[in-house]
Symmetry: D2
Subunit: 245 residues, 4 copies
């Protein structure tokens, strides 16, 4: 059997504790809904939340994480810079990172993108239809041509991100907007996937297609296990260098 | 006549003051050598250096800069974070940025790339031959198929950057390495060009081809002048949204 | 004054002669509407149509064309392969190419893309809203955040094209689809822009924003004038090669 | 156990029959050397050669091929256009394609790229050092930072290809050139990898690193098995369309 992929699902886990609607939908937290939804033999899943020590992301835990999933929204500012740098370092070493929905404004995503990651939004329960623009991509395996979410928060362009290395999904919103909803990046040895859906007041993380995309993305983002290259001063040269004047 | 492009050349300007060899090559500083070398009717050129107040990069000056050129090396850590954020903001608004040589490790470049920007290096006076891999690109206009620098510091792969939006130049080094030497990016509305050559102990910024690439890059990176898009909350929707359950 | 950009607008020019509705909208042909609409001091504009000798695209005319605009639909198969190869050769040498609407299925576009260029379509007069996803790009200069066309033919994803080098516009359609509507490519030294709008039964080529995008694209696609690189056998080597066993 | 990947290795197989040096190195043909070299439980490998009926690429065989490997050189022109179109169709449907060395000038590669695919070359037995520029990419898993080939034909830039979707390897040549040696593309649902090494007069396809890259590329290029999207006329619309004037 192949080695299991070590998945850590990180959730801010504040809305679920403070808002009755959200608690009603996700009584054990969104992280647990996602963990249950993507559970399979190939994944060994752990969770971590903001209010645990070190936000649940100790050196040890990150070292043993192949793919980190990230959901945050109301408390991005409470995430310690030191932990953000720790996560970035692990991504550059090869750890996969899946950033969900309002995680677009997380410190870690902005740090890895280098842009504001800003966008347009509206909490009006728009119907969202996510179209596959890169069929055959492993992240959309089994999805078909599109899938729909009856109600979601609207996110609209312009989305201030670097041009994705690969654009996989584009959303149509009932209210008239479009959005690049599935975006692939590579930073260092790590693969990053931004996936738009998942507003806390809708049961999005019970949707079969949403869960399938997340599970596919875990497979896609899992590291090869190669050692990062060496950097720094390299002498002597591989080939002889002529003496010059 | 078209409006002139407002160019600001920023230089750390420390090596030239502390090292006799560098002073001998660039008595007025590398910023001045570049300014003289790319001077033309189409550019209005200013310079700025690390040890000026606010590193010479006041809000006012940046506001009036179309393209910023950046050379730094021994004192990256002395650049204040606040100024780095100011520069980043202007890039996202549309200001072009040309990062030279050891600027690969500057705070601003790392912030915009999201990676370590690390690489291999060796100060052995390798011959460098820069090959054009995107002929017809405006940045290499007039360069021909390649150009050579008799002696330069070696920079070797892996260069830990995001995959460039466009790769324009690849270097061959005498000692056996290759390097992606001309890399184009867009972040927000701003265009960014990383250009490898320019070690302080060699007269690289007097080389006609190097100067031509920098001047071409200024034209390429100049902003269109468009206003950045609006972000945030957008109600009402452009199209009607159905009431749902 | 800068040299004028030599623009050739190629139109199949069959619908306008055979269909009363189209004739009513474009009495002199779509090519003439576009020519009138983008006319300015910086462009020297010619037109060419399918039923002229050599489709109006003689060696001489192409040699003197900086940017070629292409509209075709009902008679793609009537374009001679020899002329298609002639156009491809000129693109690889540096001529810009702007492919409009149903030109997605032209021989020249398919030849340059290497894919089927197929898509979904529906002639139901959908409202189309074209969103800028790359603000600050020269092709959308002056457009703002989006523009609308009250009625257009719908084109929907998946659009079977290579991932664009730069994606500039994404369309929202009233009927529920999205489409990558402004796509930039480089092939050889030539820049290519695919721009979606322009169904023959709607007055799309009188729309100010559509015309502005086309005019902007002409500026963007104009060649640098550099000579293509040399290919083939290169001896002797630039550097000495060691004798081996 | 996972389903095996169906690999077909296509070889022109003419040099080996007509040239004593090549025959000496590859007595059973390069296709057989590659087949032996990448053989493993996960692959079911077949071969096919130019002079078999239909070049060994019947509809049936291609239908049952997940990844096709292609080596051709002296007889590109003898490959029938009909077979080339058949292969292209399968790539667009999802079949992976690995194009080796002089296959850069094959009809199928040029058709899928849309460019001349021309380059510089020299048969002088240059040392080649292939540097990994995308560490962590599955195609270079286990390769380390670079690998060397003591003698190879030189291929030099400019290589007239579309900007790769991902650039994985860049070659340094003893004689002074560089080359983009490992290039990833997606066309339709199919993944394409161009891999430079493999001149017929050198024992390159016995090199462990070369074989490892090819085997890795087979895994990378294997299709997801998804059905291609539907194209054409789509009525009725997914959402209601307002009657207009």
């Amino acid at each position: 059997m192949n080695k299991q992929i070590q998945v850590t699902i990180w959730n801010e886990y504040r809305h679920e504790l403070s808002n009755e609607v959200v608690k009603g939908i996700y009584p054990k937290g969104m992280h647990q809904a996602i963990a249950d939804g993507i559970s399979c033999d190939q994944f060994a899943i752990q969770t971590a939340t903001l209010d645990e020590p070190e936000h649940g992301l100790t050196e040890e835990k990150l070292k043993n994480t192949d793919v980190l999933i990230w959901w945050g929204h109301m408390a991005h500012g409470d995430v310690q810079d030191e932990i953000v740098e720790r996560v970035q370092k692990r991504v550059l070493e090869g750890m996969g990172l899946i950033v969900l929905h309002s995680g677009h404004f997380s410190k870690i995503f902005k740090k890895l993108m280098g842009t504001s990651c800003d966008l347009k939004w509206r909490e009006s329960g728009d119907k969202e239809r996510l179209w596959v623009v890169s069929p055959g991509h492993p992240i959309v395996q089994g999805i078909g041509e599109y899938f729909e979410l009856e109600q979601e928060e609207m996110y609209g362009e312009h989305f201030d991100i670097p041009e994705p290395d690969e654009l996989v999904l584009v959303s149509w919103f009932e209210g008239g907007e479009v959005f690049r909803s599935g975006c692939c990046y590579k930073r260092g040895l790590g693969k990053i996937f931004y996936f738009r859906p998942g507003h806390e007041t809708f049961p999005t993380y019970y949707n079969e297609n949403v869960l399938r995309v997340i599970a596919n993305a875990v497979h896609w983002a899992a590291p090869t296990g190669d050692t990062p290259p060496r950097y720094g001063h390299f002498i002597p040269s591989l080939e002889p260098i002529k003496e010059k004047g």
